[in-house]
């Protein structure tokens, strides 16, 4: 972090020197919170919680109980941690909303994005944590109940899509109508791929094995590559957009005195 005068841009026209880095300090701070949250989420879900890569959908009650028993500690540590920092999702949506409000396409789309992502996080993220934490903290329950929690967690995590498709759609529309070129147009198209993969993910409700089950090549692995690509592009583009803000960029909110 550089000195205060050079980082707080857009505030002091008397400041003769150009700031060393574009963007205000709080935007950069929230940007890094976004990056940290997504990293923590990947670690928690993939390494500790074992939800990605997904366990098998075609297992028996007993196998589910054994699986929860084997990964009990990882799930407990990882998911309790994620439950504590889950608010990071709100901050992450906020920073995207901030850049969307910079677009000329209107604030409604920014609010729609934030709301859709916010609601989507409940089935798409929270419910998985809660189901699997319940299963690992109550291992004495009936195996069939554990199996239900296992299925409910995974299907909710991967198969809940309406809110996300809406969020990606409004993001794409906002970018395509934006005349300020905050994000490039190709990112709108990549967001449209996300909609397609989310819609294809409906199939995992129907299949217990094969390419279209929740651990399938099409419904999961190709979709996850597209999602990963989307996040990496978003990180890069937000960094660029933050850097493009100059001292003449109007503030979106009033500065504290």
């Amino acid at each position: 972090m550089t000195s205060a005068t050079s980082t707080l841009t857009g505030s002091d026209p008397a400041d003769g020197e150009r700031p060393e880095r574009g963007g205000s300090r709080d935007v950069r701070l929230v940007y890094w919170l976004f990056a940290a949250f997504y990293t923590a989420m990947s670690v928690g879900v993939c390494l500790l919680g074992r939800a990605t890569p997904p366990p098998r959908p075609d297992v028996t009650d007993l196998q589910v109980a054994l699986w929860f028993d084997k990964h009990q500690l990882g799930i407990q540590v990882g998911f309790v941690f994620l439950l504590v920092i889950a608010g990071g999702a709100a901050v992450s949506n906020g920073i995207i909303g901030y850049f969307m409000k910079r677009m000329s396409s209107g604030k409604v789309l920014a609010y729609a994005y934030i709301a859709a992502m916010g609601v989507g996080a409940i089935p798409g993220f929270h419910l998985l944590l809660i189901c699997w934490l319940t299963a690992t903290f109550r291992p004495d329950r009936d195996e069939r109940v554990l199996h239900l929690l296992y299925d409910l967690g995974m299907l909710s995590y991967n198969g809940s899509l309406g809110c996300f498709t809406a969020a990606y759609a409004v993001l794409a529309i906002a970018i395509l109508y934006d005349r300020n070129r905050v994000f490039p147009k190709w990112f709108a198209y990549i967001s449209i791929w996300q909609i397609v993969t989310e819609v294809v993910a409906t199939q995992m409700w129907l299949f217990h094995s094969g390419a279209l089950a929740w651990n399938g090549m099409i419904t999961f692995y190709i979709a996850v590559v597209i999602f990963g690509l989307w996040v990496v592009c978003l990180l890069h583009l937000m960094r660029r957009a933050a850097g493009a803000e100059t001292s003449r960029t109007p503030a979106l909110y009033a500065r504290e005195a």
């Binding site: 490039p184 791929w193 397609v196 199939q203 094969g210 390419a211 597209i226």
Partner: protein
């Protein structure tokens, strides 16, 4: 066929500069889509190879006549779209608009035939219970979703042509580019689902 001569000699059409048709954003979309559809196609082929007998038997229930008709319809739509771009370059905007509308009409016709095909397959009992048909519905469904998006984009292009303040040739090129991609993907889908059995 490549349109380029070997290095050192003058190009076959020296009065024509190399340029990117459409814009780079649309090419990111097209190349990315080609890549991911390619992954779908290879996945399908691997699963097919794992149970050839079942897939091959199921593939025989497809109506290859409808498949061929739909292929020709899409190829025709593409040539209309390509001619539309030429019309825009000539400044014949009315003609371009008519050609793009013809493209869209072919797209609608394709959709109707596809829905009819799905309907008759489902009523015959070929549902996603069968592994081949689960792939079939997903691949053709994702393709049809792209086609509907393509119709929307064509609509934007036609609006652009009608608006005297608009008429940016770039927009027309981009939307037509997307349309050709739909055609291109269908050619592959037709070959692997209907023909290679």
């Amino acid at each position: 066929m490549t349109g380029t001569a070997t290095r050192g000699t003058p190009r076959r059409s020296p009065d024509r500069d190399r340029r990117l048709p459409g814009d780079i954003d649309m090419w990111v979309m097209v190349l990315g889509d080609l890549f991911f559809f390619g992954c779908y196609f290879v996945t399908y082929m691997v699963f097919r190879a794992l149970s050839v007998e079942e897939f091959s038997a199921a593939q025989r229930h497809l109506n290859i006549g409808i498949g061929v008709t739909n292929t020709v319809i899409l190829l025709t739509s593409s040539v209309f779209a390509a001619l539309g771009v030429i019309a825009v370059r000539e400044g014949a905007l009315k003609k371009a608009e008519r050609l793009l509308l013809a493209t869209g009409a072919c797209g609608v016709l394709f959709t109707l035939l596809k829905v009819h095909e799905w309907h008759s397959e489902i009523t015959q009992g070929y549902t996603i219970q069968d592994e081949f048909f689960s792939f079939y519905y997903v691949l053709t469904g994702v393709h049809l979703a792209h086609l509907v998006l393509g119709l929307l984009i064509l609509g934007i292009a036609v609006r652009e042509l009608r608006d005297p303040r608009g008429r940016r040739p770039g927009i027309i090129e981009q939307s037509v580019l997307f349309w050709h991609m739909i055609d291109l993907l269908w050619v592959v889908i037709f070959a692997i689902l209907y023909l290679m059995r």
